[in-house]
């Protein structure tokens, strides 16, 4: 039942977004990527292609390595003490684990939004939006930046709610607003790729819906990779879907195909809820 329901969502989705994968340029490609933490293997031989200006959903049960995959893509995984990694990730045909690549510069091009909203507590709403630009020295604190703040907040559909209190503490916002603020913060730095790690897991349906429509509106400018536990969300917004299970990439492809006619029985079991 569940499965058919998801297929129905996909078919409507397909009319609104559907763009065949084949037309698209690959921006990110992982090659036999394995990652572990304290000798425990989290990702095992992942070979995945992510195309440009596209929303890819990564689905799979808890602990299957979805978040780790995201953290590998912008080289955050190596920040955790006790973590190791092997394999290659090509970003615009350059291996990001090459010695010549500075992870700091890479992260400026591949933004990451976390599961739990994490606005900077010491900063106001406005300063939070600009923090990425300050940190990367694209602007300094004297630059007239009002339009940048407004743009980013408009994009994140937060502007109308906060335009009168830009100087308030970022913690005066609700959870959903904080998450949109974090997205605005990531967008303000104008990354090429936006990674989102279950951005809606702590949000109510209304906030979730706002963020989904936000992502849909961004897909023409950014490459988006979203980890989600919510199958319906994956079906609603993504063009391509990858299914991970205990550290292995079971399959990936166009969302329509994955949700209507998956190749692997494990995928079908997971999507239909017969999974144990």
């Amino acid at each position: 039942m569940q499965f058919q329901f998801l297929s129905a969502i996909v078919s409507t989705n397909n009319e609104t977004i559907g763009n065949p994968m084949s037309d698209r340029q690959v921006i990110l490609r992982t090659e036999s990527l394995s990652a572990s933490f304290e000798n425990k293997k989290i990702l095992n031989d992942i070979n995945l292609e992510i195309s440009k200006r596209n929303i890819m959903a990564i689905i799979g049960p808890s602990g299957c390595g979805k978040s780790t995959l995201l953290r590998c893509i912008n080289r955050m995984h190596e920040l955790i003490y006790g973590s190791t990694l092997s394999g290659r990730i090509y970003f615009e045909n350059k291996n990001i684990y090459d010695k010549s690549v500075d992870p700091i510069l890479l992260r400026r091009r591949i933004g990451l939004v976390f599961q739990k909203p994490n606005p900077f507590p010491s900063m106001s709403i406005k300063d939070n939006v600009l923090s990425g630009l300050w940190l990367t020295q694209k602007i300094n604190k004297k630059t007239d930046s009002d339009h940048l703040v407004e743009n980013a907040l408009q994009q994140a559909v937060l502007w109308d709610e906060v335009k009168d209190r830009l100087d308030d503490s970022s913690l005066s916002l609700s959870g959903g607003q904080q998450q949109r603020l974090c997205i605005a913060r990531a967008l303000a730095s104008k990354p090429d790729v936006l990674l989102l790690d279950e951005p809606c897991s702590s949000l109510d349906p209304i906030a979730t819906q706002r963020i989904e429509s936000l992502l849909l509106s961004l897909k023409n400018t950014y490459t988006i990779v979203i980890v989600t536990h919510n199958m319906r969300q994956a079906a609603r917004i993504s063009n391509t879907t990858a299914f991970l299970l205990s550290g292995r990439l079971i399959e990936y492809g166009e969302t329509t195909h994955i949700f209507t006619s998956p190749q692997e029985t494990q995928t079908e079991d997971y999507l239909s809820g017969h999974f144990d």
């Binding site: 955050m76 700091i104 992260r107 091009r109 940190l135 990367t136």
Partner: protein, 291 residues
């Protein structure tokens, strides 16, 4: 309901009451003693507390004696101590929390610092006497006193600053890295401002401790009778607690009154500092209510 079923509950209620009374008196008795003590000091000293007392030099005549050099000495001492100990202590805390690998050496250092925080202050006095006064030849100067005090409060500053840094959640640091910040930027622009109120609270409490400490100053040779104002870090000096000690040890009862008045000044300063630190914490907690 049969009586035997009610009995245990009745007994529990009595135990409950008794326990409440024990806890209440455990709180009230020390408070009462403190209030009596403070009240006594206040009643004795308040008559002597006037502008003249605050702006005069010590004198053989108790009614002419004042605490001007002691106030200036204490302020000078605390200022220097702060200038020396705060940057050092906060930097050490940053190193330990943000840079150091958590290996065996790290844990040895951690335990050592915790132990140092509980070393009696007179030991620091001896250390100061040996190193600063004698070996470095600073004599009985404010600088020697301030260096000694800095050693004394360094462990406290390191521990409180480390706790403050540690309280900045991992998610905030991750968020900062994800924007493409270097570690230096992460620490300087995000972690420190976030931890700042708690670091400040710890620093104020440490400074308050430095104001009240007497033993190390006696050892490093603060003088109690002084007829000039300290002008440079190398001047001889006196401090409020030293002045109080000196007056208390005199036989004339008038000096005891002077001592009480000086105690009021000292206590007021410390209470004020504590109040400021509590206020800062309160303000920030209110501002960041759902963090």
């Amino acid at each position: 309901m049969p009586r035997y079923k009610r009995q245990p509950i009745a007994r529990h209620r009595i135990v409950d009451k008794l326990f409440f009374i024990v806890c209440l008196s455990a709180m009230i008795i020390p408070m009462l003693l403190l209030i009596i003590l403070l009240g006594d000091v206040l009643i004795t000293g308040i008559e002597r507390l006037n502008l003249n007392f605050l702006t005069s030099f010590p004198s053989r005549k108790p009614q002419n004696a004042g605490i001007l050099p002691a106030i200036l000495g204490s302020s000078y001492l605390v200022l220097l101590t702060g200038i020396i100990a705060l940057p050092l202590g906060i930097s050490a805390a940053i190193y330990m929390e943000e840079y150091s690998k958590k290996n065996r050496l790290y844990y040895i250092i951690e335990i050592t610092i915790a132990n140092l925080a509980s070393v009696p202050s007179i030991i620091y006095g001896m250390l100061g006497l040996t190193i600063f006064v004698r070996a470095l030849g600073l004599e009985r100067s404010i600088l020697a006193g301030a260096l000694t005090m800095s050693l004394l409060i360094l462990p406290i500053i390191i521990i409180t600053s480390r706790e403050a840094l540690h309280a900045v959640p991992r998610t905030i640091r991750d968020g900062c890295y994800a924007l493409g910040a270097t570690r230096w930027q992460m620490i300087w622009q995000i972690v420190l401002p976030t931890a700042f109120p708690n670091i400040l609270t710890g620093a104020i409490l440490a400074i308050a401790r430095a104001i009240g400490e007497t033993a190390p100053l006696i050892i490093v040779g603060a003088v109690s009778y002084i007829t000039f104002l300290p002008i440079s870090p190398f001047s001889e000096f006196t401090a409020l607690p030293i002045q109080i000690l000196n007056w208390i040890s005199r036989p004339q009862p008038e000096f005891a009154v002077n001592a009480s008045a000086a105690i009021i000044v000292l206590l007021t300063t410390m209470l004020l500092l504590n109040a400021i630190s509590i206020f800062i914490r309160y303000r920030v907690n209110k501002q960041r209510n759902n963090w």
